[in-house]
Amino acid sequence: MNANDPQITLYVNGTARSVPADSTVAQLVESLDLGQRRIAIELNGEVIPRSEHASRPLNDHDRIEIIRAIGGG
C-alpha cells in the first residue's frame, strides 16, 4: 500500500489499527491472516454474517470484534 493512500483507524479487538479507507470486512480479515480461520465478526455491536464480509465497507473509528471458540467450561 502507498503511504499517501487515505487511511482510516479501526479498533480491532480493542487495538487501534490503520487500514486503507476503502477496505471491506473481508479485506481486513485477509490482512490479519484470518481468512482460513473459523471466526465470527461483530461491527459496532452488530453481527456481520460471513456472506456479507466481502461487501461490508469499513468506516473510520469502527469497532470490530473478531471472535473464536476456545477452551472453557
Binding site: N13, R37, R50, I67, I70, G71, G72
Partner: protein, 265 residues
C-alpha cells in the same frame, strides 16, 4: 430390564449423559484425548477474541472437537450482564453457521461464580425470543428452575456446588425437588469433583452431568474422563434399577433356617 432411553435435548438424541467442558487442559492434544475418553457428545466451548498477529499456526479448538463429530455448546462464561450474554450467543451462532444451542450463564460475582438470577432470567427471555435453544446454568432453587423451564429453556442446569470447586452435591434435596417438577432435561452443572459425585447426581435422577475442572484438573485427566463416563453410566443404571430402601439395622443376607450350630435369635 428397564430400557435405557437416550438423552433428548432440543429434539436431538444423545447416548452419553456426560457433557464436558474444554477448559484448563494442559494442551489441545490432552483436551482432545480426555474428551474422547469421556464419551461425551456435547462439548461446551468459550467465546473469546481471536489472537491477532501472533501464533498464526495456532491450533484451533474446533479442529480438535469438530462440529461434524460433536454437538458444540458455546457458553457465556465470564458474562456478568444479560446484554453481554446475548451478545456472545449471537456471535456464537454466527461462528457455528446458525447452530443455535447455547449454554447461558450470567454470573453474579467472581468469588462464587454464582448465577445472577434476575440477569439470567432476562437473558433467557431475550434468547428464547431470538430463536435460541437455551440450556441455562442456574442455582439449585426449585422455583427458579421451574420458571426457566416455563420460559422455554430446553434444559435447566442447576449447580451442585460452585463452579470449579469440586465440592460435589451440596443440596441433594433441592436437586430432587427440581427433578420432580421438571419436564425438560435437568443437567447438574458445576461442582462435581470426582466420579462418585457424578454417580450421585445420576442416582438422584438427573438427566445428565456437565463438568470440566474435575477432569481437566485431575492428575490424569484422560483416566478421570473414563471414570466419569463410568460413574455416570453406573449412576444412571442405579437410578433406573431403583435402589433398595435404607434401614437402620442389619438384615442378614443368608437364611437362618438350616444352621446346624446354635444360632442367636
Amino acid at each position: 430390564m428397564t430400557q435405557q432411553q437416550p438423552l433428548s435435548i432440543a429434539g436431538r438424541s444423545y447416548q452419553s449423559r456426560l457433557l464436558i467442558g474444554t477448559g484448563k487442559y494442559r494442551d489441545m492434544a490432552q483436551a482432545g484425548e480426555a474428551i474422547r475418553a469421556s464419551g461425551a457428545e456435547i462439548v461446551t466451548v468459550a467465546i473469546r477474541r481471536t489472537n491477532i498477529g501472533q501464533n498464526a499456526d495456532e491450533e484451533n479448538l474446533l479442529d480438535v472437537v469438530p462440529p461434524s463429530e460433536f454437538t458444540i455448546l458455546p457458553n457465556t462464561a465470564g458474562c456478568y450482564t444479560a446484554d453481554d450474554a446475548v451478545r456472545v450467543c449471537r456471535l456464537a451462532r454466527e461462528l457455528l453457521d446458525g447452530h443455535d444451542l447455547v449454554k447461558l450463564e450470567v454470573l453474579g460475582d467472581p468469588k462464587t461464580l454464582y448465577p445472577d438470577i434476575p440477569a439470567t432470567l432476562e437473558a433467557a427471555e431475550r434468547l428464547v425470543a431470538d430463536g435460541f435453544k437455551v440450556m441455562v446454568y442456574t442455582s439449585d432453587d426449585p422455583i427458579i428452575a421451574r420458571r426457566l423451564e416455563e420460559m422455554g429453556c430446553v434444559a435447566v442446569m442447576p449447580l451442585a456446588s460452585p463452579i470449579g470447586s469440586g465440592l460435589g452435591i451440596q443440596n441433594r434435596y433441592n436437586l430432587l425437588t427440581i427433578l420432580e417438577n421438571a419436564s425438560v432435561p435437568i443437567i447438574v452443572d458445576a461442582g462435581v469433583g470426582t466420579a462418585s459425585d457424578a454417580a450421585v447426581a445420576m442416582e438422584l435422577g438427573a438427566d445428565g452431568v456437565l463438568l470440566n475442572t474435575a477432569v481437566a484438573a485431575a492428575q490424569d485427566p484422560v483416566l478421570m474422563a473414563s471414570a466419569m463416563r463410568k460413574g455416570i453410566e453406573a449412576g444412571r443404571e442405579a437410578y433406573l434399577a431403583g435402589r433398595m430402601p435404607m434401614r437402620r439395622y442389619a438384615s442378614a443376607s443368608s437364611p437362618l433356617e438350616g444352621t446346624f450350630w446354635q444360632g442367636r435369635q
